[in-house]
């Protein structure tokens, strides 16, 4: 059965799909949580709207892991 799958399906395509899918999932959840907590912080205390720049820093940090996953699909042959 494994032989059958490996011979008929191009497993690299499967691997790339899994990489992009799961690799994008984590950062997406992280960015959603960051945005949600930013919005709740601003609605509790409107003065904390000034932390938007800080928010982008953390978004970029979370994004890095998604980008690593996305870049890895070009290494899979």
């Amino acid at each position: 059965m494994e032989l059958f799958a490996a011979e008929t399906i191009n497993t690299a395509v499967l691997a790339k799909g899994i990489l992009v899918g799961f690799g994008g999932m984590g950062p997406a959840i992280a960015i959603g949580l960051l945005g949600a907590s930013y919005m709740s912080a601003v609605s509790r205390n409107p003065e904390s709207a000034k932390f938007l720049g800080q928010l982008f820093v953390f978004v970029a940090m979370a994004e890095l892991f998604g980008l690593i996953a996305f870049a890895s699909i070009f290494i899979v042959k």
């Binding site: 982008f56 820093v57 970029a60 940090m61 890095l64 996305f70 870049a71 070009f74 290494i75």
Partner: protein, 259 residues
């Protein structure tokens, strides 16, 4: 009809491609574009810096003025004093404009397919080359270490890593982990900038390819997004470097306040 969606895909290169060799030294396309942009940038920034005046600048020099002012305030806020901001602003503003101009000029349509040399693209953004961003982050980390040693002295700087009683073996373990963290910072700074730029390039290439004949139009939203991301990543590179510096010199700062 279906050849329009061929499985071939656009040409995607994660690494810079070799153009030619000069005496055994490989010249890649990102190096060529890096040199060109550096010359343009030096001319523009030196000319712009002469135009900046005390009582408000005019024209494009306003951008330089506003950028320096913004980073001066940010650095003063995060390092805790105006004198330190005056000392460290020049380097951080330079690295910001360096990254920003490389990111933005990398989006010009002349980069990529239009000019080729031996079937490889002649130009490639310098920040879309891991060697380039790694060089930037190595410079940043080395300078931050130098600044921190100058600020607090070598022994005190090392005590910043090996905090706590020196008789306790766990202190050394934690200190080694803290030093290892510097390496993590080095690579995460470089990888963040590199991956954001190179994946932007890839996205633009993919959507220009999917658009077929209308490729120039389908790539526009992603190009606009890349303009924003280029600015954001340049800002984040500087912001993270400043915060690493502020963590590294935090000890001497506390001491100054208590004394």
């Amino acid at each position: 009809m279906f050849n329009l969606f061929a499985s071939e895909g656009p040409h995607i290169a994660i690494a810079p491609e070799k153009l030619f060799e000069v005496g055994g030294l490989v010249i890649t396309n990102s190096m060529v574009y890096g040199w060109i942009v550096c010359i343009v940038m030096m001319v523009a920034l030196i000319y712009g810096a002469r135009k900046v005046t005390i009582g408000g600048s005019r024209g494009p020099a306003q951008l330089l003025d506003a950028g320096v002012e913004f980073f001066y305030n940010m650095i003063a806020g995060s390092l805790g004093s105006e004198s330190r901001a005056r000392k460290y602003t020049p380097y951080f503003v330079t690295i910001f404009f360096f990254a920003l101009i490389h990111n933005w000029l990398g989006l010009l349509p002349i980069v990529g397919k239009p000019f080729t040399y031996d079937d490889t693209a002649l130009f490639r953004p310098f920040t879309a080359d891991f060697n380039g961003t790694l060089a930037m982050s190595i410079t940043a980390i080395v300078l931050i270490q130098t600044f921190a040693i100058k600020e607090s002295g070598l022994v005190k700087h090392l005590r910043h890593y090996f905090a706590g009683s020196l008789a306790n073996p766990i202190t050394y373990l934690i200190g080694l982990m803290e030093i290892f963290q510097e390496l993590t910072r080095l690579f995460s700074l470089a990888l963040r900038l590199f991956l954001n730029v190179v994946i932007g390039e890839i996205l633009i290439a993919i959507f220009a390819y999917l658009g077929g004949t209308f490729g120039f139009a389908t790539a526009v939203p992603f190009t606009l997004m890349e303009v924003f991301i280029g600015l954001l990543q340049a800002y984040i590179f500087v912001l993270l470097s400043v915060s690493y510096l502020s963590v590294a010199i935090a000890h001497s700062h506390e001491h100054e306040e208590t004394a």
